[in-house]
């Protein structure tokens, strides 16, 4: 008799269909001790959590929700590789915890039948038993356990019921030897698998240590996978010899009445029927369920569409208007902190770095948190209650016109408030090509950061003409046109991407419409905090780094000769001020002059800074757009975030960087400065309507938002896509602005 010491940490993989409460169970078991990362080379999120149970320590690995373990892409391969111990740098799990929705047990057992073939000790958690009994579905868990040959534990993950029993079952399962149940496949298929297995003996296999044979499950999959994906990936050199052997085997299976790929679904659903025979009792007459009643309204042609529009309006306005309040607090806090540092530190490079580089940079990161958290609050609720799938169902036909599916609707809608939560929300799209297309076009939606740019240009240059008795204004139409440009461009780019670099067969829509249920508050809260934290940790550092680089470009070089005249002027004014008594009426005028000198100095410094010089360098490039070097400089400076362009123009035109165009006074000062601006050395005005339009069009389409690019990097797990986004958007913006200006200027003439 040998005594086995249990491993120090027991690794358990958690797997299950979507909408089974898998995340709820994971959160209930692991609590807040969770870690999120990425598997290398794919966009699949790697979520692990720790679970303690007396002396035992568990590492829970949450695998992506799936209906089937039939990999047809690298993303789908991850779960199979993890479960078979083929994933690089990961140890094979000691056990599998398979969660099953009791109200939908038939389809859920399909995945269980695949999991059991992997040969790992398995425990089945039978979740949502309460929902099942409400519908009159009774499952004899003891009998099911006997049939399956693995522990079946009824749980209610949302109420934390049955977790103790589940942990006990896991502890017992890892200590017992596991023998996989009989194969659900018919005899002829099993014979072909055995034959292929022996033929493969000599084939080199990628991903296996040494010359270990291909696991039996993958041999089966090789035979079943008609897409050719496995042939290419699993076998290091998919020889033509093997291909002909596979073809021959499939021919023999057709003759034997077990055609591939149908044989799998038929065999597994046949097995499921045998497992459930006499185990499940359903009501003879299917009653009208809670979900039926709700869906009668929510998928109704008129009412359903109306409710959908209202829900989307609520989500959108929370991002656009409600999030503005906490965003205001963040700005106030940032200003207060900057003021504190300025009051307590001597002027110099370090103070400037802290105030304009670090505090502004951190503020520029934190400012996105309210929108991210509001969006994920809503998404978590919509997902958990079951409405998310209905939203995709309602919007699918519309989105199909641009080559996407209904699942892209919410990410793109959110992007009108801010592309960052929009890009992050694209995670719900399983198909890689659809997800990438959505991510790449999301930044074209006119986000709230473009508004200040539009607002100032429209206020300064678009005449306040109105039509139809004041119902329609030219200014309003211009604003509408800017939003439309983004939508049209996004539709065009999406179509172009789906026809070129992201070309491929239309992914299946095939979407489960889950039963409605109350969302779990702890899960909603967790999702919201988790997304916010993920953004801060992964994208935050990158955004901060960009802010510091742009600060340095604006701060250096320090040229004493350029600032000397202003110093002299300031000294003169301060000396003059010192001679006047405290109550003298002349003091106010001098103080105004001092502010004026400070602004002029700031402007003069910026014009000779590296960034100012870059403005001069790019002038030949931006001249065809109707821009002078100042606008070019402001466009470069706005790389961290579009709205920075207003502050930069403020400094360039000696208005100070704290000009607030949301207030009428600030807006009219800014508008006045733009209207008065002239080309260097002439009295020809820089700005006219075509120039203003060309600036607006440029900012509508450009990728001047480091935060979005950082989030794209994080979501796609590669530098290629943010780079691609920057290049294509800047190119698109340039061409569109060029056309706008060149056409506009000819129309004026």
């Amino acid at each position: 008799m040998s005594i086995q010491t249990p491993p120090a940490t027991i690794t358990v993989a958690l797997i299950g269909n979507p909408n089974t409460g898998k995340s709820t169970l994971f959160t209930a078991l692991a609590g807040v001790r969770q870690r999120v990362g990425n598997y290398p080379g794919v966009t699949v999120e790697k979520k692990t959590g720790q679970m303690l149970d007396g002396p035992r320590r568990y590492l829970l690995v949450d695998l992506p929700g799936t209906y089937s373990l039939a990999p047809r892409s690298p993303d789908e391969m991850v779960a199979v590789d993890v479960l078979l111990g083929r994933q690089a740098h990961e140890t094979r799990p000691d056990a599998v915890l398979c969660i099953v929705d009791a109200s939908n047990v038939e389809r859920n057992l399909y995945l269980v039948s695949q999991v059991l073939e992997l040969g790992l000790p398995t425990v089945v958690a039978l979740n949502m038993t309460d929902v099942a009994s409400e519908r009159g579905i009774e499952i004899d868990a003891a009998k099911l356990q006997e049939r399956l040959g693995v522990p079946v534990v009824p749980v209610q993950a949302n109420r934390r019921r049955g977790l103790g029993e589940l942990k006990a079952a896991l502890a017992a399962a890892v200590e017992r030897d596991f023998s996989p149940p009989e194969s659900p496949f018919p005899q002829p298929f099993q014979e072909e698998v055995a034959r292929l297995e022996s033929e493969l003996g000599a084939e080199p296999v990628s991903g296996e240590a040494g010359n270990a044979p291909l696991p039996r499950y993958l041999v089966e999959r090789l035979l079943l996978d008609t897409s050719g994906y496995l042939e290419q990936t699993v076998l290091a050199n998919g020889s033509t010899d093997l291909r002909s052997k596979l073809a021959a085997a499939r021919q023999r299976l057709i003759a034997a009445g077990c055609p591939v790929p149908a044989v799998e679904a038929m065999a597994r659903y046949g097995w499921v029927a045998r497992m459930l025979d006499g185990v499940v009792r359903r009501p003879a007459e299917r009653g009208v369920t809670f979900t039926d009643r709700i869906d009668r309204v929510l998928t109704h042609k008129v009412v359903g569409t109306l409710v959908f529009a209202l829900v989307m309006l609520a989500v959108f306005s929370s991002l656009f208007f409600v999030a503005a309040t906490p965003m205001g607090w963040i700005e106030t806090a940032q200003g207060w902190l900057a003021g504190l540092v300025e009051a307590n530190m001597a002027d110099g490079a370090l103070r400037s770095l802290i105030v304009d580089g670090i505090i502004a940079g951190v503020g520029g990161v934190v400012i996105f948190l309210p929108q991210i958290m509001f969006l994920f609050f809503f998404i978590a609720i919509l997902e958990d209650c079951g409405y998310m799938a209905r939203a995709a169902y309602l919007m699918d036909k519309l989105m199909l016109r641009v080559g996407l599916s209904g699942k892209s609707f919410i990410p793109l809608l959110s992007s009108f408030a801010c592309a960052i939560p929009g890009v992050m929300a694209a995670r719900v799209i399983e198909n890689r090509r659809d997800r990438l297309t959505t991510i790449l076009v999301a930044p074209l939606m006119s986000c709230s950061a473009r508004l200040p740019v539009y607002a100032i240009m429209i206020a300064a240059f678009i005449p306040p003409v109105s039509y139809l008795g004041g119902w329609l204004t030219l200014q309003g139409l211009t604003m509408f046109a800017m939003y439309s440009i983004g939508i049209v461009a996004a539709a065009g780019v999406a179509l172009a991407l789906k026809k070129t670099i992201l070309r491929g067969p239309t992914p299946p829509f095939v979407l489960e419409l889950p039963a409605y249920k109350w969302p779990s508050p702890s899960l909603v809260l967790y999702r919201m905090v988790d997304r916010g934290w993920a953004f801060l940790r992964r994208a935050g550092t990158l955004i901060l780094a960009v802010s510091i680089v742009v600060w340095a470009l604006l701060y250096y070089p320090q040229d004493p000769a350029a600032t000397a005249p202003f110093m002299a002027e300031r000294d003169r004014l301060e000396a003059q001020l010192a001679t006047l008594p405290a109550e003298d009426v002349g003091r106010a005028a001098i103080e105004v002059q001092l502010v004026e000198v400070a602004r002029e100095e700031q402007g003069a410094h910026q014009r000779q800074s590296w960034l100012g010089r870059m403005g001069h360098w790019v002038e030949p490039v931006v001249r065809p757009l109707g821009w002078d070097w100042r606008i070019g400089c402001a466009a470069i400076a706005s790389f961290p975030a579009r709205e920075v362009v207003v502050g930069t123009l403020g400094v360039i035109y000696n208005l100070g960087d704290d000009i607030d165009i949301e207030e009428a006074e600030g807006e009219s000062r800014m508008a006045g400065a733009l209207q008065r601006a002239t080309w260097d050395g002439t009295d020809r005005p820089v700005y006219n309507i075509p120039v203003a339009l060309s600036i607006m069009v440029f900012f509508a389409l450009c990728a001047q938002c480091a935060a979005t690019l950082a989030v794209i990097k994080r979501e796609t797990n590669s530098w290629r896509w943010p780079l691609f986004t920057f290049v294509y958007m800047t190119g698109l913006a340039y061409v569109a602005a060029l056309v706008t200006y060149q056409v506009g200027i000819r129309l004026i003439a």
Binding site: E106, Y393, P508, V510
Partner: protein
């Protein structure tokens, strides 16, 4: 009647087979549309597509084009 997409709202049918060998067909079978199983049409989205079905006790939404791959016989 021959394919699932032609099933009227509220109508039921039995699956005969799923045509095709590609990803869509495999997905349809994995989701439980196997020969012999009963399917009921619950309706369509407001824009006319996709369609909604009940199969094996749950609700499944398919595009018209996908439902056309499922050959059925009326009950």
């Amino acid at each position: 009647m021959s394919v699932l997409s032609e099933l009227p709202r509220g109508g039921s049918a039995r699956v005969k087979r799923v045509a095709g060998l590609d990803e869509v067909s495999v997905r349809l079978m994995e989701m439980g549309l196997t020969p012999g199983v009963e399917v009921r049409c619950l309706g369509a989205a407001p824009l006319g597509d996709p369609l909604e079905y009940e199969v094996r006790g749950y609700r499944l939404s398919l595009r018209r084009q996908e439902a056309a791959l499922v050959e059925v016989e009326s009950l």
